[in-house]
Subunit: 215 residues, 2 copies
């Protein structure tokens, strides 16, 4: 397991896992790389390559045992434990995330929320009481929070992230439209709506331009 696994592989593993959980709930026992590929939008060879980085989980001629592979993937991804998460910034996005039921179901416990806005502090959103920023360090330590979700306005994002990391966060999920500068041992993922929308615009515009030429 020494080899460096690429982000795209990890993303696919997540997809496989999601699918396997559904299959497991449906009490299906066995699944082939082809079936797994079709339901996750990739190819059978890709599925096998991805899994092969971590070991041999299948039976030739048969496929993969659903429950077994599910458990294996959960271990690979580090999902056999629960993860404590804090939301920084309780605006629209922050509140939406606090109420997102899927988290609990998937092993993530949103245990704290922070905001600078006096009128938000003290309010309870989806069972979590919004704290002032000055409580951040203490709460992160007390609750052993390892993941910080940045949902602040863009101006506050970098500072919030830095502070979360200093307080012990190992990973950042960033909703603010800015590239965070982070030391390399902190894991960062971005969720940037406008970036994705602009990407769609490019594709649509390009497609139209291409057909315009053809016609």
């Amino acid at each position: 397991m020494a080899r460096k696994i690429s982000d795209s592989t990890v993303r696919r593993l997540s997809r496989y896992l999601r699918r396997l959980r559904t299959l497991d709930r449906q009490e299906l026992k066995v699944v082939s790389s082809r079936e797994l590929a079709e339901s996750t939008g990739t190819t059978a060879a890709q599925v096998r390559k991805d899994l092969s980085h971590f070991g041999s989980f299948g039976k030739r001629g048969q496929g993969y045992a659903v429950t077994d592979l599910r458990v294996q993937l959960e271990e690979i991804l580090g999902l056999t434990r629960r993860w404590r998460v804090a939301v920084l910034g309780v605006g629209r996005i922050g509140s939406a995330l606090l109420g997102y039921g899927f988290f609990t179901q998937r092993g993530f416990d949103v245990v704290a929320a922070f905001d600078t806005d006096r009128s938000m502090v003290g309010r309870e959103v989806a069972g979590v009481t919004v704290q002032p920023l000055k409580e951040l360090e203490r709460t992160f330590e007390e609750l052993e929070i390892s993941i910080a979700i940045i949902a602040t306005p863009v101006e506050a994002a970098q500072k919030a992230a830095d502070r979360a990391v200093r307080a012990g966060a190992k990973a950042i999920l960033n909703f603010a439209p800015i590239k965070l500068g982070m030391s390399p041992e902190v894991a960062v993922r971005e969720m940037d709506v406008t970036l994705e929308l602009e990407g769609l615009c490019y594709l649509v515009t390009e497609a139209r331009a291409a057909t315009d030429v053809k016609e």
Copy 2:
């Protein structure tokens, strides 16, 4: 402009554009590939390569004229027009998106919202009246909506997306945790919070495992 441009290049172009807009607002006239690279988390060579796919926009020895390059990128990405967007599913995420002020500012007008829930229909969220699903076709045509944001529960996502495309949507931004099966001429981008969170868990777990071995 015949060559196929990769998704990662398009994403970077969006980042460059965002940075250029800020620089332009600050009335800075010229920027180098190095500066642009530093503020967007990439390398100078990458910036130049990305731009070179579309033409020569800089002056050797000087850099790029900020306003000029901004306009060029807006044209490349198809952002010289405004885009009309509909939100399908007005739950937590849907409502958060409806109220997201950045959209308008960036050329996206959220002009319609749909939900199956009777208690939601008719309500006004951030200036948009929630419509029942049966109005979808008419509204899409009337308002010439080209982008559909899927914010429904996962079970309803595929159907909602299919229906939006049949009604004329050219692009889908999918917030539901499912890989949508779409015909290839429809542009699709995914925003999947749990996928990203799981990716972070992998990285954190892997990092801890690696240092455990070292120590």
